[in-house]
Structure formats: C-alpha cells, structure tokens
Amino acid sequence: MLTELTGLTDGAPPAALQAALEERLAGADRAWLHEALAEAEAEAEAETETGSPRPADRPQWSLPIWETRFAEAGRHCHPAQAGQPGSPGPGAQDLADAARVLLLHAVRADHATTTRLYTHGTAAERRAVLLALPHLGGVPAGSALPLVEDALRTNDTRLVAAAVGRYAAAHLDQHAWRHAVLKCLFTGVPVGAVADLAGRAAGDAELARMLRDYAAERTAAGRPVPEDLDRVLALTAAPTQES
C-alpha cells in the first residue's frame, strides 16, 4: 500500500493520485483536502484572470491561503486506519507528500512558485516540490535543476531520495547523476529510488570505475560493500540503449 501511494506520487495523473489519497484519509482530513484544493484552483484562476500573482491588498509577508494549506498538510493528513505496528501501511508522511503534490498541480505551480516553496520550505515541503517537479507543466524543462542540486547537497536521505526521481533522470548531466547514484550508496538510500537507473547506467564506464573504487575503499577499511553497489555495477555492463 505504501509503495502504491509513493508510486502514484511519483507520476500518476492528479485525479488518480487524489482518488488514492482520499481512500486513505480520515473523513475530516478528506474535507480539508477538498477545501484546500478548491482554494488552490481558485487562486490559479484568479492569477490567470488578473495576470497578477499577488493581490494588491495582501501584506508583504502574508501567504496565499493555498500556501498555508501546503505548509499545514502534515497535520491534516492522518491515515483513516492506523497501520498495525510493523505493517507497511501508508504513514502520515506519505499522505502529506501526496496532498502537497496535488496542491502544486491544482495551483498550476510555475518556476517562481516551486522555487519559492522549496526555498522557504521545511524538509517535508521541499520533498513534495521535488516529487512534483517532473509533472508540472508550468516549470520549463530543466529550470528547476538548482533545487535538485540543492537537495543532493544535503545529507537528509528523505530529500536525496526525492531528488533522484524522474526530473533528475531527465535533466541532470552525467557527472552530477553519477555522483547522485554514489551518494545514494553512501547514505543508504536504496538505488530503487533512482529513476531510469538501468537506462542511464548502461555502458557508463566512468560510473563503473567510481563504483569499483568505492568498493575498494570500503574493502580496504574492512567495511562491507553496500549490496546495491553490485546491482548498479551490473547495470553499467549493459550496452547503452542507443547502441
């Protein structure tokens, strides 16, 4: 169930994601979600009509209502049924991720909005921006790379995992992408989080060298080599997709 919702967050059409989220939310939280999405859609409509992103009567630091909803999603997204201890049911964090991604769709978030939300965001808010990036039509291709690069500089595994999704697969240059893969191995982020891993690793001799060097360093120190390393190394041996 967890995997299912996470999978939807990373690429499903908003309607499917919303349906999956609503199924899992407690009743009051479902009502909160409906209202928040309606506010976001209204905000997007108003911006389209006036062409102005900020009503003149709004004080400098006050937030649009939908941005407040984006910030508070974590305290309004509780699972309808608490998972059994040890069961893989979706946690509040997955639900909040999904709600925030839906809000970004509803408001048709553009480059300026995603950058502002990421820059001013908590780790959970930044994660949602990263997850939504590949699917936001208002963000010009590649323009949000600085956000992905910022997340890849952190040691917060939640951010690193969200940063190596489809947006990184599509836009990171090969040097930065190799370092992102290596960082996953360093910090314990499962490489299953790396989008298009097989496609981009195929035939990458430089990545293979980096992996072998890392394995040698671990071995020299008497430390175990991460299991995922061999998996990626095997992928580098495949011929490139173009060839």
Partner: protein
C-alpha cells in the same frame, strides 16, 4: 521512564548526545529558537537557522528514535539589535509550519523598550496563529523581570494557560504559579536549578503544570538532566505516575495546545547504514 525534554538546543549537541538521551528514555524534544552565542547580523542568518530547525535537526533526531519539534521567534537578546529586528516581519511564514509548536523563546533579557516591543508583538503572533508561547524569564533581575513579563502577558490576547514561563526558580515560582501560566524549570550542572532543589519545589507546588527541561546548549549543560530529575523524584518517594506527568504528560499537554505534535517518529529507523544514516560519506 518516557521523557519529553521541552527545551533543549540540539543544534549545539552531538549525535552521542542523541544516543545517550534515547538510552535514558528521551523520546521527544522541543528545540526553541535562541541566541547562538555569536551574535547574528541579519535576518538571513535567522532564516537559515529556522530552516535547520525544520529540516536537518528533525532528521537527525529521527535517526535516533526521537521526535523533534521547535519553537520560532526573535529571541530577547537579539531583539535589541536593529539589524535583526526585521526578522519579526518574516515570522508569520514560519509559524504556519507543521513542526512549529509554539512561539519562543520570547521574553526579557535586559528589560529594554526594544524587548517590550518584541515580546508584545510576538505574544500577539502566537494568539493569531493558535500557538502557545514559550517565555524565557531573565537571568538578571529575575523577580522584577518575572512580574513585568506577567504584566505584558495579561495585556496580550494570549491567555496565561497558553504560556509556559521558563527558567523559574525558588524566587519566581510563586508569582509564576499565581499567574496561571505553565511552569518551566531548567536544570543545569552549576547554574539555574539542580535535581534536589527541583524535588523540593515539586514537593511544595505539586506536579500540575510543571515542566522540567535540560535547556542544554553550547554552554556547560547536560542533556540527561531530565532523567536525573526523574530518578531524584522517584528516590524522594514520588510515584512513577507523578514522574510521567512531569516528564511526559505535561509537555505533551502544553505543546499539544498547538494541535501539531506528532510523537511517532516516521523516519526511524529509516535507511540505516551501519546503524547511522548521518553520513558524510566514506563512513
């Protein structure tokens, strides 16, 4: 013994501390925004600090099985620096965040007009955001500072039962208790309160609305003081239920007034790597 340290500056502490705190029973902490020891020179420096309290520090805590929340404010000391005061205008966008469970630390340091203004403004921000407030009482001229603090709270829109008065001691506890606020005590190795005096205060005033914290930071302090107070209370004949009220239920009730406490730790144990994902690489 389950422990909630309602006031600790984990940014200044090591992962060894997190490990020792967990072993001692600490499962939740609140980290109030405060002075860093080195004066800040611009609002941007506050923003990076607030971002850390809402990003990196909760992640670090989660790796050790500890739920981390924070309080956000312009602290009393830096309220006197005109280069820092503009941060007040930006607090609203932080006070809506999920991990923020109070406005704080606010209050008095030297009891200046600038501190009056910042305290009153931030009590109003708390009232406007549905948040309680953590109020630091001054170290110098303490009793006069306590009285002045309570006066400003009475003039604000924030009811006293949504205010935690902190760093109390024998000279200020009565006036604080009479005010209707929650009562916070910081237990330190040499200054503030110690374990035995804390036991004596609880014997006299009871366990209701009393919170005990380590206020551990970058100075001489001890993140395990909460546990030591719990042990001292048990040794003095208090029940386990009394200790649970002071060290867990009272902080949960006070910060729970925000409606934002999440005491499960979603990331623990997370993608641990050799028992620790706080990796710099190459570990």
């Amino acid at each position: 013994m389950r422990i909630f340290d309602p006031h600790i500056h984990m940014t200044s502490r090591t992962t060894d501390d997190y490990e020792a705190m967990y072993a001692a029973g600490v499962r939740a902490v609140v980290e109030p925004s405060f002075w860093l020891g080195q004066p800040r020179t611009s609002p941007a420096s506050f923003f990076d600090y607030f971002d850390a309290l809402l990003g990196w520090e909760p992640f670090r805590a989660s790796q050790y099985g500890i739920a981390h929340h924070c309080t956000i404010a312009l602290n009393p000391k830096e309220a006197n620096d005109p280069r820092c005061v503009p941060v007040l205008d930006a607090l609203a966008r932080y006070l809506v965040k999920d991990g923020v469970v109070a406005v704080g630390e606010i209050g008095y340091d030297s009891m200046t007009p600038a501190e009056d203004t910042a305290l009153a403004a931030q009590l109003q921000l708390a009232a406007g955001h549905g948040l309680p407030a953590l109020v630091h009482t001054p170290h110098r001229d303490k009793l006069a500072g306590l009285h002045r603090t309570v006066d400003v709270i009475r003039e604000s829109d924030l009811p006293p039962d949504r205010v935690l008065l902190d760093h109390l001691n024998e000279t200020t506890v009565k006036a604080a208790a009479d005010s209707g606020c929650w009562l916070g005590f910081s237990v330190y190795p040499d200054t503030k309160m110690d374990e035995e005096r804390m036991v004596a205060v609880i014997k006299e005033y009871g366990t209701e609305k009393v919170l005990v914290n380590s206020a551990a930071d970058w100075g001489k302090s001890d993140p395990l003081k909460t546990r030591k107070v719990g042990d001292a209370l048990l040794a003095a004949g208090f029940t386990e239920d009394d200790v649970d009220q002071v060290l867990w239920r009272n902080p949960v009730a006070f910060y729970g007034l925000s409606g934002r406490l999440q005491l499960d730790v979603p990331d623990a144990p997370g993608p641990l790597h050799e028992g620790n994902s706080i990796l710099r690489g190459g570990e």
